[in-house]
Structure formats: C-alpha cells, structure tokens
C-alpha cells in the first residue's frame, strides 16, 4: 500500500494499525518511526509527498478469500486530521475432488488407459502447482515423468519392429559400450525405472546397428528420433499444463506395476505461486486385480479439470 499525500494536509504523525497475523516487510520513504506491537507510528518522512508499506499476510489461508482491515490515522498536534480504513484482500487456490472411483476392478479385458477417471475442481485465485504422489501402502513413490520414460522406451521400440537382422561387417562396434551400460543398469535391483525391456531387444538392436547397409536407415532413424523427441515433449507439455493456471509438475500420474494388491492413495500436494503449500488432497482407492496373466503395465490416472475462478473484486486490484 502507498499514499500520495496532499500538500495542504498538515500532520505531524501517521498511525498505522495492523490486524493479527500480518507483518510489515518494508517501509517506503519513512525516515523515523516507533512501534508498540500493533501500531506503527510514523514520526518523519524523507519527503512529505508520499509514504508506503509492504505488508504480508503470515497465516496460511483456510478460506479461498479473506479480507483484513488496516487502520490509518493522520494526526496534527494530537488531533486526527484524516482517517481511513484500508481493506486488504488475500486469495488462495483451492482443489476439490468432484468425482473419483472408490473401487477399481482390473480384469484381462480392462482398458487400462481409461480405467481411472477423476474430476477435480480448481477454485480460488492464482496459479496452482501440483505434484502427484501415489501411496501404495508400503512406500511412497513419486510418479516418474512420462517424458523420460517414453524417450527410453521409444528408442527401443524403433529398433525392434520388423527389421531383418543379417550378419554383416562390424562397423558400429564402438557403440557396444552403450549397450553394456544399458544391460548393467538393468541388472541393478534398485533401478527405479520400471521399463520392461527384454534382453533380446537389446541384443537385436546391437546387431542391427552394426550393419553398414543400415547407415541410411540409421540416419533416417536419427531424424525420426528427433521428431519423436519433439512429440514426447509435446505430450509432456499437454500433461504438464492440463488446464488454465494448473501445472502438474510430473505430468499425468500413473502407476507402474505387474500386479496391484489392496489399496492405493492418490495424493495431490499443491502450492500457490508464492510457494505456500496447502493441505493436500488424498483419494484412497481399493484395487481388485483379477488378471490371470502377470503383465507389467502402466495405468494412467486420468484427471478432468474444472476451472471455477473466484470473482476478483474490481479491475484495479493490485494482486501479486
């Protein structure tokens, strides 16, 4: 807040009264002041034409919108010559679950891509940054960015569809270290990337890349890979910004597993643009996995977002 002062107004003190849970971060053009805890008494300004205060609200909001009243009095020889009540508005974003499954039954015929569907309403004001976590009961695993996952699996998929492998010279031998590294990283038990890549695939790719006659194809594949990378980025961007003012940092949440048992909890932790974290949303779901065949699967948690912006008072609100 700031005030441009009328030169005809004579005063020797300005009193500012703050409500609870607010504090002053900075003073503008104030040379001398005293405080008694709730009141700021301004004794002297550097120049007589304006003064300002940078005020912050310290309490985490529970409501979407609150108003706080700041008192201002200007005194001359003990008499009030000007008085004002200044209303400060504070807003927060708010997430609400509108719809979501309580129980999910998975069978061999289930369409895994469309199994989980949620509707979440975003109300309040401002940008909201959401990080999703899936709690499987035993440990909490952050959902990996699908971008990196797709990038890797995309590479393997490209080199493994329908190409005949015939022995030829070994021009591309020096690529071996890449495959060695891939294999060794797959051996690690604590590998967090649940990529179900078969050993034969790596072998197939290793063979294929060694062939001289495949150079043209390799170059074409490289250009295709660039294109694929772009598509992955696009997909990730779609997932990261699913609605106006909503950021899903990790993209669409998904679970990766061979078989699910018992219950899981989808947790949405969220922050406003100033970095304040609010009470997270938790959605517990019972899962009954009736599949006969044990298959590693990625199951996305599809969320439909409904934006319901809070009406902001007036056009000239100074909002950060």
């Amino acid at each position: 807040m700031h005030m441009i002062l009328d030169s005809s107004l004579k005063f020797d003190h300005i009193l500012i009264t703050l409500p609870e849970n607010m504090s002053i971060l900075n003073l503008l053009n104030i040379e001398d002041y005293t405080t008694d805890g709730f009141t700021l008494s301004i004794n002297k300004l550097y120049t007589s034409d304006f003064f300002g205060l940078i005020i912050s609200q310290d309490e985490k909001l529970k409501e979407i919108h609150i108003q706080r009243q700041i008192g201002l009095q200007m005194l001359n020889k003990g008499k009030v010559v000007h008085e004002e009540k200044i209303i400060a508005n504070f807003y927060r974003p708010f997430l609400e679950v509108v719809e979501g499954p309580k129980t999910i039954v998975i069978t061999d015929k289930s369409d895994l891509r469309n199994l989980f569907k949620f509707t979440i309403k975003v109300v309040g004001f401002g940008k909201v940054n959401i990080k999703t976590e899936i709690d499987t009961g035993t440990d909490i695993k952050l959902v990996l960015e699908s971008y990196f996952r797709n990038l890797l699996s995309g590479l393997f998929a490209k080199y493994s569809i329908g190409e005949d492998v015939k022995p030829d010279d070994t021009r591309f031998e020096n690529t071996d270290w890449i495959f060695d590294r891939m294999e060794s990283s797959m051996d690690e038990e604590d590998d967090e990337l649940p990529l179900a890549i078969k050993q034969e695939r790596i072998e197939g790719m290793r063979e294929w890349i060694r062939k001289t006659k495949n150079i043209g194809k390799i170059l074409e594949e490289a250009s295709r890979a660039l294109e694929a990378l772009f598509l992955d980025l696009l997909l990730f961007q779609f997932e990261k910004y699913p609605a106006e003012n909503v950021t899903l940092s990790y993209g669409t949440p998904a679970i990766f597993a061979e078989r699910f048992a018992g219950s899981i909890t989808l947790r949405l932790r969220y922050w406003d643009s100033m970095g304040t974290e609010y009470e997270p949303i938790e959605i517990p779901i019972e899962i009954d996995d009736k599949r006969g065949e044990k298959k590693p699967s990625k199951i996305p948690m599809n969320i439909e977002w409904i934006r319901n912006p809070y009406p902001i008072l007036g056009v000239n609100d100074r909002l950060e």
Partner: protein, 334 residues
C-alpha cells in the same frame, strides 16, 4: 502473537549500501569545494548499474585564478571524469590525468576565460544498493479474465535520504521489472487435433510393445502410416516458435500503462526453443522526487495471440505431404 514489526530495523536508518553512495557524493563535493560545486543532477541507471552526476563549478576570474589553485579527484573511488564543458558555449576541455597516482587534476590556471564549468562524473553502483533503494513488485498471477491477461507492476523509492548529498535533482532511470507472461497453454492449444491423435497412437503403440501385446504390429502399421502422411520438421518448428516469441513479434500483443516502457522480450521455460512456458517481458520506468512511485498494468492479448499462433501452425508447421486416404467406414467387429 509475535511483533509484526520485528523484522524491521529499530530505526529507519539508511542501509550501508545507500550511505556509501551518500558518502561518495559528499566526498566529491568536498574535493571540489574550492570551486564552489553544486550538483545539478544525478542519474542512476538501474539496468547498467551506473550513475552519472553533473557538477557545476564556479571559478572566479581574477587573482584567485592566477594563484594556481588546483583540485584533485582520485579515481580510486570509482568516480570517473566523463567530460568537462566550459562556459556558456559548453566548449569541451581536457583534464589532466595523473597516471601514477590515478587522479584527475583540475588546475584553475589552465581553465579558459569563463566562470562556469559543467563536469560530468560517472561511476558504478552495486546491485545491493539498487535493491536497498528501490522496491519492485509485480504479479505472478494474471487477472483480467479470459481475453486479456493483466499483470500488476509497482516500483517505488524506499529511501530518498540520498538527497542529503544531492541538492537539486536525481533520477533513477530504467528501473526494470521482468514480468513473466505465461504462454504455457498458448502453444499446446494451437496444436491441431490430428497431431494430438497421433501422439496418442504413438503412446498406445509403445505401451503395447512394452507389454508384449499382440496388437503391436497392427498399431505400428497404423502409426507409421500416420507419421508418413504428416512429416514434422522439428527445426522448422523451433524456428517458427522463436519467431513468434521474438520481441519484434510479441510486443504487438503487449500494452503497458503509462509511464512504463518496454525494454526487452525473451522466452523462457524448460524447452523454450520448442514450446516456451513463459515470455519474460522486461519493462522499465523512471523514478525521481516528482514520481517516487509508479504503478500500472501490463496487458497481454492472450486470445488474439493464441488465434494467430493456431493459424500459423496450421499454415506452415504441420503441413501434410498428401491428403490422407479416405477410408470406407468399416463395420465394427463385435
């Protein structure tokens, strides 16, 4: 409850960075004292982090001039003599510089036959000084509804105690704020639906391959056909996106309230070359005693920008090589 004034200093003394500058100006005035100096104007440049001060010196003609009085300005303080103009005609003149002791020497006897001299001194200020001196605030969240996004900008002088040293006028030029204009959904919403479908087809294919699904061959054929019909050119996309987010193009969609001015525009984000998430718009304003506070809005014509991008994408980005073959609708297998 805690004291809301706890974090403030107990008295509103100027910070060290500010008092250092006051000290420097006082010292310069002190050095020039024999020549009756008056600082006419001091300008600070927020972006370049420099200052420029103009001193008016009055050197009387007559016996005092002949007494060979001299003034020395040491260069070690960071003050540099930029130019000295003599008399009413503002004739530029040279000032001797002592290379050994690093100081400027103003020898009254060397001065031409006039009384007034305008000396321009320049120097640098620290970032800390500018931060201590100027308060800048702006919105991270736009207001203004769906057609136009509005971002509030505010800049104010915190402390004008610098006046203790400068008697006439000072300006803080180009006080700059970087407003981060969100475009995260502008580019993705401009992507044509068929490309979105293609991305989904690719996802399906990859999932099927991973799972060892029998359908993967069918899906692969379908995906390859889609990919052949429409060839993407990532480098061209990158070029077009950078054109669309360049200052020359983007500024057309930005409007600033008086007295803010547009300085610079550059995209930012995780993959700013392909799909920028934000466009940083650097705006500047001048602060001085007459206008110690400036406040206003930056407006971004989001809807119009999105429409134009959608159009450009349609025209040039995802041009299909040939029209897709029309397929006869197949009977659904039960």
């Amino acid at each position: 409850m805690s004291d809301p004034f706890d974090i403030l200093p107990k008295t509103a003394e100027s910070t060290k960075a500010v008092s250092d500058i006051i000290g420097l100006f006082s010292k310069l005035i002190d050095n020039f004292k024999p020549f009756k100096p008056i600082i006419r104007v001091a300008n600070f440049d927020y972006i370049d982090k420099t200052w420029e001060a103009k001193f008016l010196l009055q050197i009387k003609k007559g016996w005092k001039r002949r007494s060979k009085r001299k003034v020395e300005i040491p260069a070690y303080d960071g003050a540099r003599v930029d130019e000295v103009l003599a008399g009413e005609m503002f004739q530029p003149m040279t000032i001797n510089f002592d290379n050994i002791d690093h100081k400027y020497i103003f020898r009254a006897g060397d001065f031409p036959n006039c009384e007034n001299f305008l000396v321009t001194l320049t120097g640098r200020v620290t970032e800390k000084f500018l931060k201590d001196w100027v308060e800048i605030r702006m919105s991270k969240n736009p207001t203004g509804g769906s057609i136009i996004d509005k971002y509030w900008i505010y800049a104010a002088l915190k402390n004008v105690s610098i006046l203790e040293a400068i008697h006439d006028e000072f300006n803080v030029e180009r006080v700059s704020s970087d407003v981060k204009v969100g475009v995260e959904r502008v580019f993705t919403s401009a992507i044509p639906p068929w490309l979105k479908q293609r991305i989904v087809a690719r996802e399906e294919l990859l999932t099927a391959i991973e799972r060892g699904d029998r359908r993967s061959r069918v899906l692969a054929v379908r995906y390859r056909r889609a990919a052949r019909d429409s060839r993407l050119k990532p480098f061209e996309i990158s070029r077009i996106v950078s054109d669309l987010t360049s200052g020359d193009y983007f500024r057309e969609f930005i409007a600033l309230d008086h007295p803010f001015q547009l300085a610079n525009i550059f995209p930012s984000g995780f993959v700013k070359e392909f799909l920028p998430e934000r466009v940083n718009v650097q705006v500047t304003a001048r602060l001085n005693l007459k206008t110690p506070v400036v406040e206003g809005y930056l407006s971004f014509e989001k809807n119009r920008y999105t429409d134009i991008i959608t159009e450009k994408f349609k025209e040039s980005l995802f041009e299909k090589k040939k029209p897709r073959r029309k397929m006869k609708p197949k009977k659904k297998k039960e």
